[in-house]
Symmetry: C2
Subunit: 148 residues, 2 copies
Amino acid sequence: MEFVKDQSAGYLANHMARIFAHGLTARIKPLGLTTGTFPALLELWDTDGLTQKQLVERLDIEQATMANTLARMERDGLVIRKKDPNDRRVQRVWLTDRARNLRGPAMAAAQEENAARLAALTAEEKRQFVALMQKVIQTRMPEKQGNV
Amino acid sequence: MEFVKDQSAGYLANHMARIFAHGLTARIKPLGLTTGTFPALLELWDTDGLTQKQLVERLDIEQATMANTLARMERDGLVIRKKDPNDRRVQRVWLTDRARNLRGPAMAAAQEENAARLAALTAEEKRQFVALMQKVIQTRMPEKQGNV
DNA sequence: AGCACTTGCATAGCTCGCTATTCAAGTATT
DNA sequence: AATACTTGAATAGCGAGCTATGCAAGTGCT
């Protein structure tokens, strides 16, 4: 065969991402979280009250995807959205107490999943692996170089 | 608790997979293909007439996902599904002429996308990268009880 | 002031992945 | 032969991602 799927970087990336997502889904389900909320939560745990626009910029996610994700998060009591009084187009996103309290357990779950998936790699391989993924990502996003 | 998303393997895997998917989507759109059909097509180009069950086993995709993907492929004139006369539960999947003719261009598109995304890596890094992803995928830790 | 342009977000509608459930066809047990 | 179990696929319903489009609030030009 001219194309071996298990040697194709794109195929492997997709497969691997599904495996990570599957594992993380299971680990954070007891917390009442889903994987799609994770990136937004990470940003908000660091800086509460970001605008939707700011979240989109920080996460390389489309605006429409973020709008939908935030709607689910609001529905599930993780955030509330308030119009910025200075510019009423802007929605600022604020964590609820519940979301703030999930920071520790959620980060622990993510780290456990990472550790489990990389368990077969040596410390040096883990370092290389992360560096290579960063490099591949930055190939499309040269504007972010040095910022990672 | 320190968690830097751009050093998290799972986060990077997700991000990278979205980048690959985005690129491949654009490259195969002119062919009338979408990314989800690609794995099934690769198997069928190699062995036409597989059953749905066999496709599921070969691709690490859930049965329901494959059923939906094949339904879209049939709708789009890529395959036809025929009941196996020896076991009428079984659906065998057969490529159409159109799908057979797409093999060359589709594989070329995938290889071009892979090459573009890995352009910043040396030959040795590419080899390592693929090997590391294979290793991560093949790691299947037994479910831990209580302590991960 | 009035008009066009820009910006931030929401909505519609799609793919693709998942879990859970249902259904029909085969197999096995009695 | 009738019943129960097993197996292959389909369906329902959701999350998460995308593109395209709509709309209201702000900005700028005249």
